[in-house]
Amino acid sequence: MALLSLVEVITAIREEGIEIQQTEVEGFIQQSWVIPLHEEGGYFFDEADKARIELICELRRDMAINDEAVPVILNLLDQLYGLRRTLGEIREAVRELPPDWRAAFEKRLTESLGE
């Protein structure tokens, strides 16, 4: 997948019906809310960067989250997604356990988490 330049990512976001200005994206980068690849004096965005910009726009505009609170939310979300990733890895590790270990694990979890 090729990367998008600043102008290209703005065009693509607008095409999805989200209004955004170049200065806003530059502000997001300055605050490190979005970390695109920075090379040869330009910024290059992958799909995850683009979706993150859209999320920030919706937080600010649709949910009236102010700029002081945006980094708090992003930080918590990043931890949430990091946790989900770790949980996914634990799930994979559990899958590779012998069946009786898995059964014991499942039993223990069912007991503490309920149905």
Partner: protein, 305 residues
């Protein structure tokens, strides 16, 4: 299609402000990126989004009330939400959490596992646990191979050799670099998952590299020798006379290494003919006289005429 007012949970007489507040409340609750594990919210979010985009426009709202337009066609084009990339392992640079950071949760799971056993006096023989790490490298490091230093959980650092042609998501095994075993049993292994950042202009398909290269009109019409980047550096490449946008040329052996066969892939260079940036009067005059004699209809050939 259900009633847009009930989608937002407001009455038909609701003021613009009430509609906005209702939408904000629902958006906070239902935004897919704020509900990563819930598959059902995405559809609901789209519906409230569509309802709001119509009802927040006074003109459209009036016409909707009068029955002139319905709710259809208001949905914004589908898009990828951040959660789908984050859960797929992209955007890892943002994630301020990994097993190492969660020392409070994992320390007694891995490190303390042996300690409590030893307290019992008898040490069972047990091979050490395997541990996982991830390493981020750039596109060219993956294509050409690299050495990366990573720090292990016990503070040791090891140099990991990333072989040329390593694929994104591939896992390398470092034998014996996992946690120590118990009762004289061997240590576990360390597994290193490799994440490759995309490149500005190269893309990779297996061991082949793909690249789009712009050429000027004279270069395309007359042919030329141009300089083209490859993963190993620049090479010169012959553009045949009469080359067209979309013409793809192959640079044999200029791809990256296929890990199974050990052979090098190829680089595919797709040409893109680019006109001068500013319209040129001389070129226009020439095209006028040339076009009269040599008209051709590429749309007809493409079946579009």
């Amino acid at each position: 299609m259900s009633d847009l007012y009930s989608t937002l949970g407001v009455s038909r007489e609701a003021s613009a402000d009430e509609i906005k507040r209702a939408y904000r409340k629902l958006a906070k609750e239902l935004h897919p990126d704020l509900n990563p594990g819930d598959k059902t919210v995405e559809q609901r979010f789209k519906e409230i989004n569509a309802a709001y985009s119509l009802l927040s426009d006074p003109d459209k709202r009036k016409r909707y009330d009068a029955g002139e337009i319905d709710a259809a066609g208001q949905e914004k084009p589908s898009r990828g939400f951040y959660r789908s990339y984050a859960d797929a392992g992209m955007g890892q640079k943002y994630h301020g959490f990994d097993a190492e950071a969660a020392e409070d949760i994992f320390s007694d799971l891995f490190g303390g596992f042996g300690r409590s056993r030893r307290a019992g006096g008898r040490t069972p023989r047990q091979r050490g646990a395997d541990v996982s790490y991830s390493v981020h490298i750039d596109f060219l490091e993956a294509a050409n191979g690299a050495r990366k230093r990573i720090q292990l959980a016990d503070g040791k650092t090891v140099d990991v050799t990333i072989p040329a042609g390593t694929a994104d998501g591939q896992t390398l095994r470092l034998k014996g670099q996992g946690l120590p075993g118990l009762g004289g049993a061997g240590a576990g292994d360390a597994y290193v998952e490799v994440h490759i950042a995309p490149h500005r202009f190269f893309t990779r398909k297996d061991s082949d590299i793909h690249l789009e290269v712009p050429v000027s009109l004279p270069e395309a019409v007359l042919g030329a020798t141009i300089s083209v980047p490859t993963v190993e550096g620049k090479v010169s490449m012959k553009v045949p006379a009469g080359a067209n946008s979309g013409t793809t040329l192959r640079l044999k052996g200029k791809g990256t290494v296929d890990q199974k066969s050990g052979e090098r892939g190829d680089q595919y260079v797709k040409l893109k003919v680019v006109l001068p940036e500013k319209p040129d009067a001389e070129l226009q005059r020439f095209m006028e006289s040339w076009g009269k004699e040599h008209g051709y209809d590429p749309r007809k050939k493409a079946g579009l005429a």
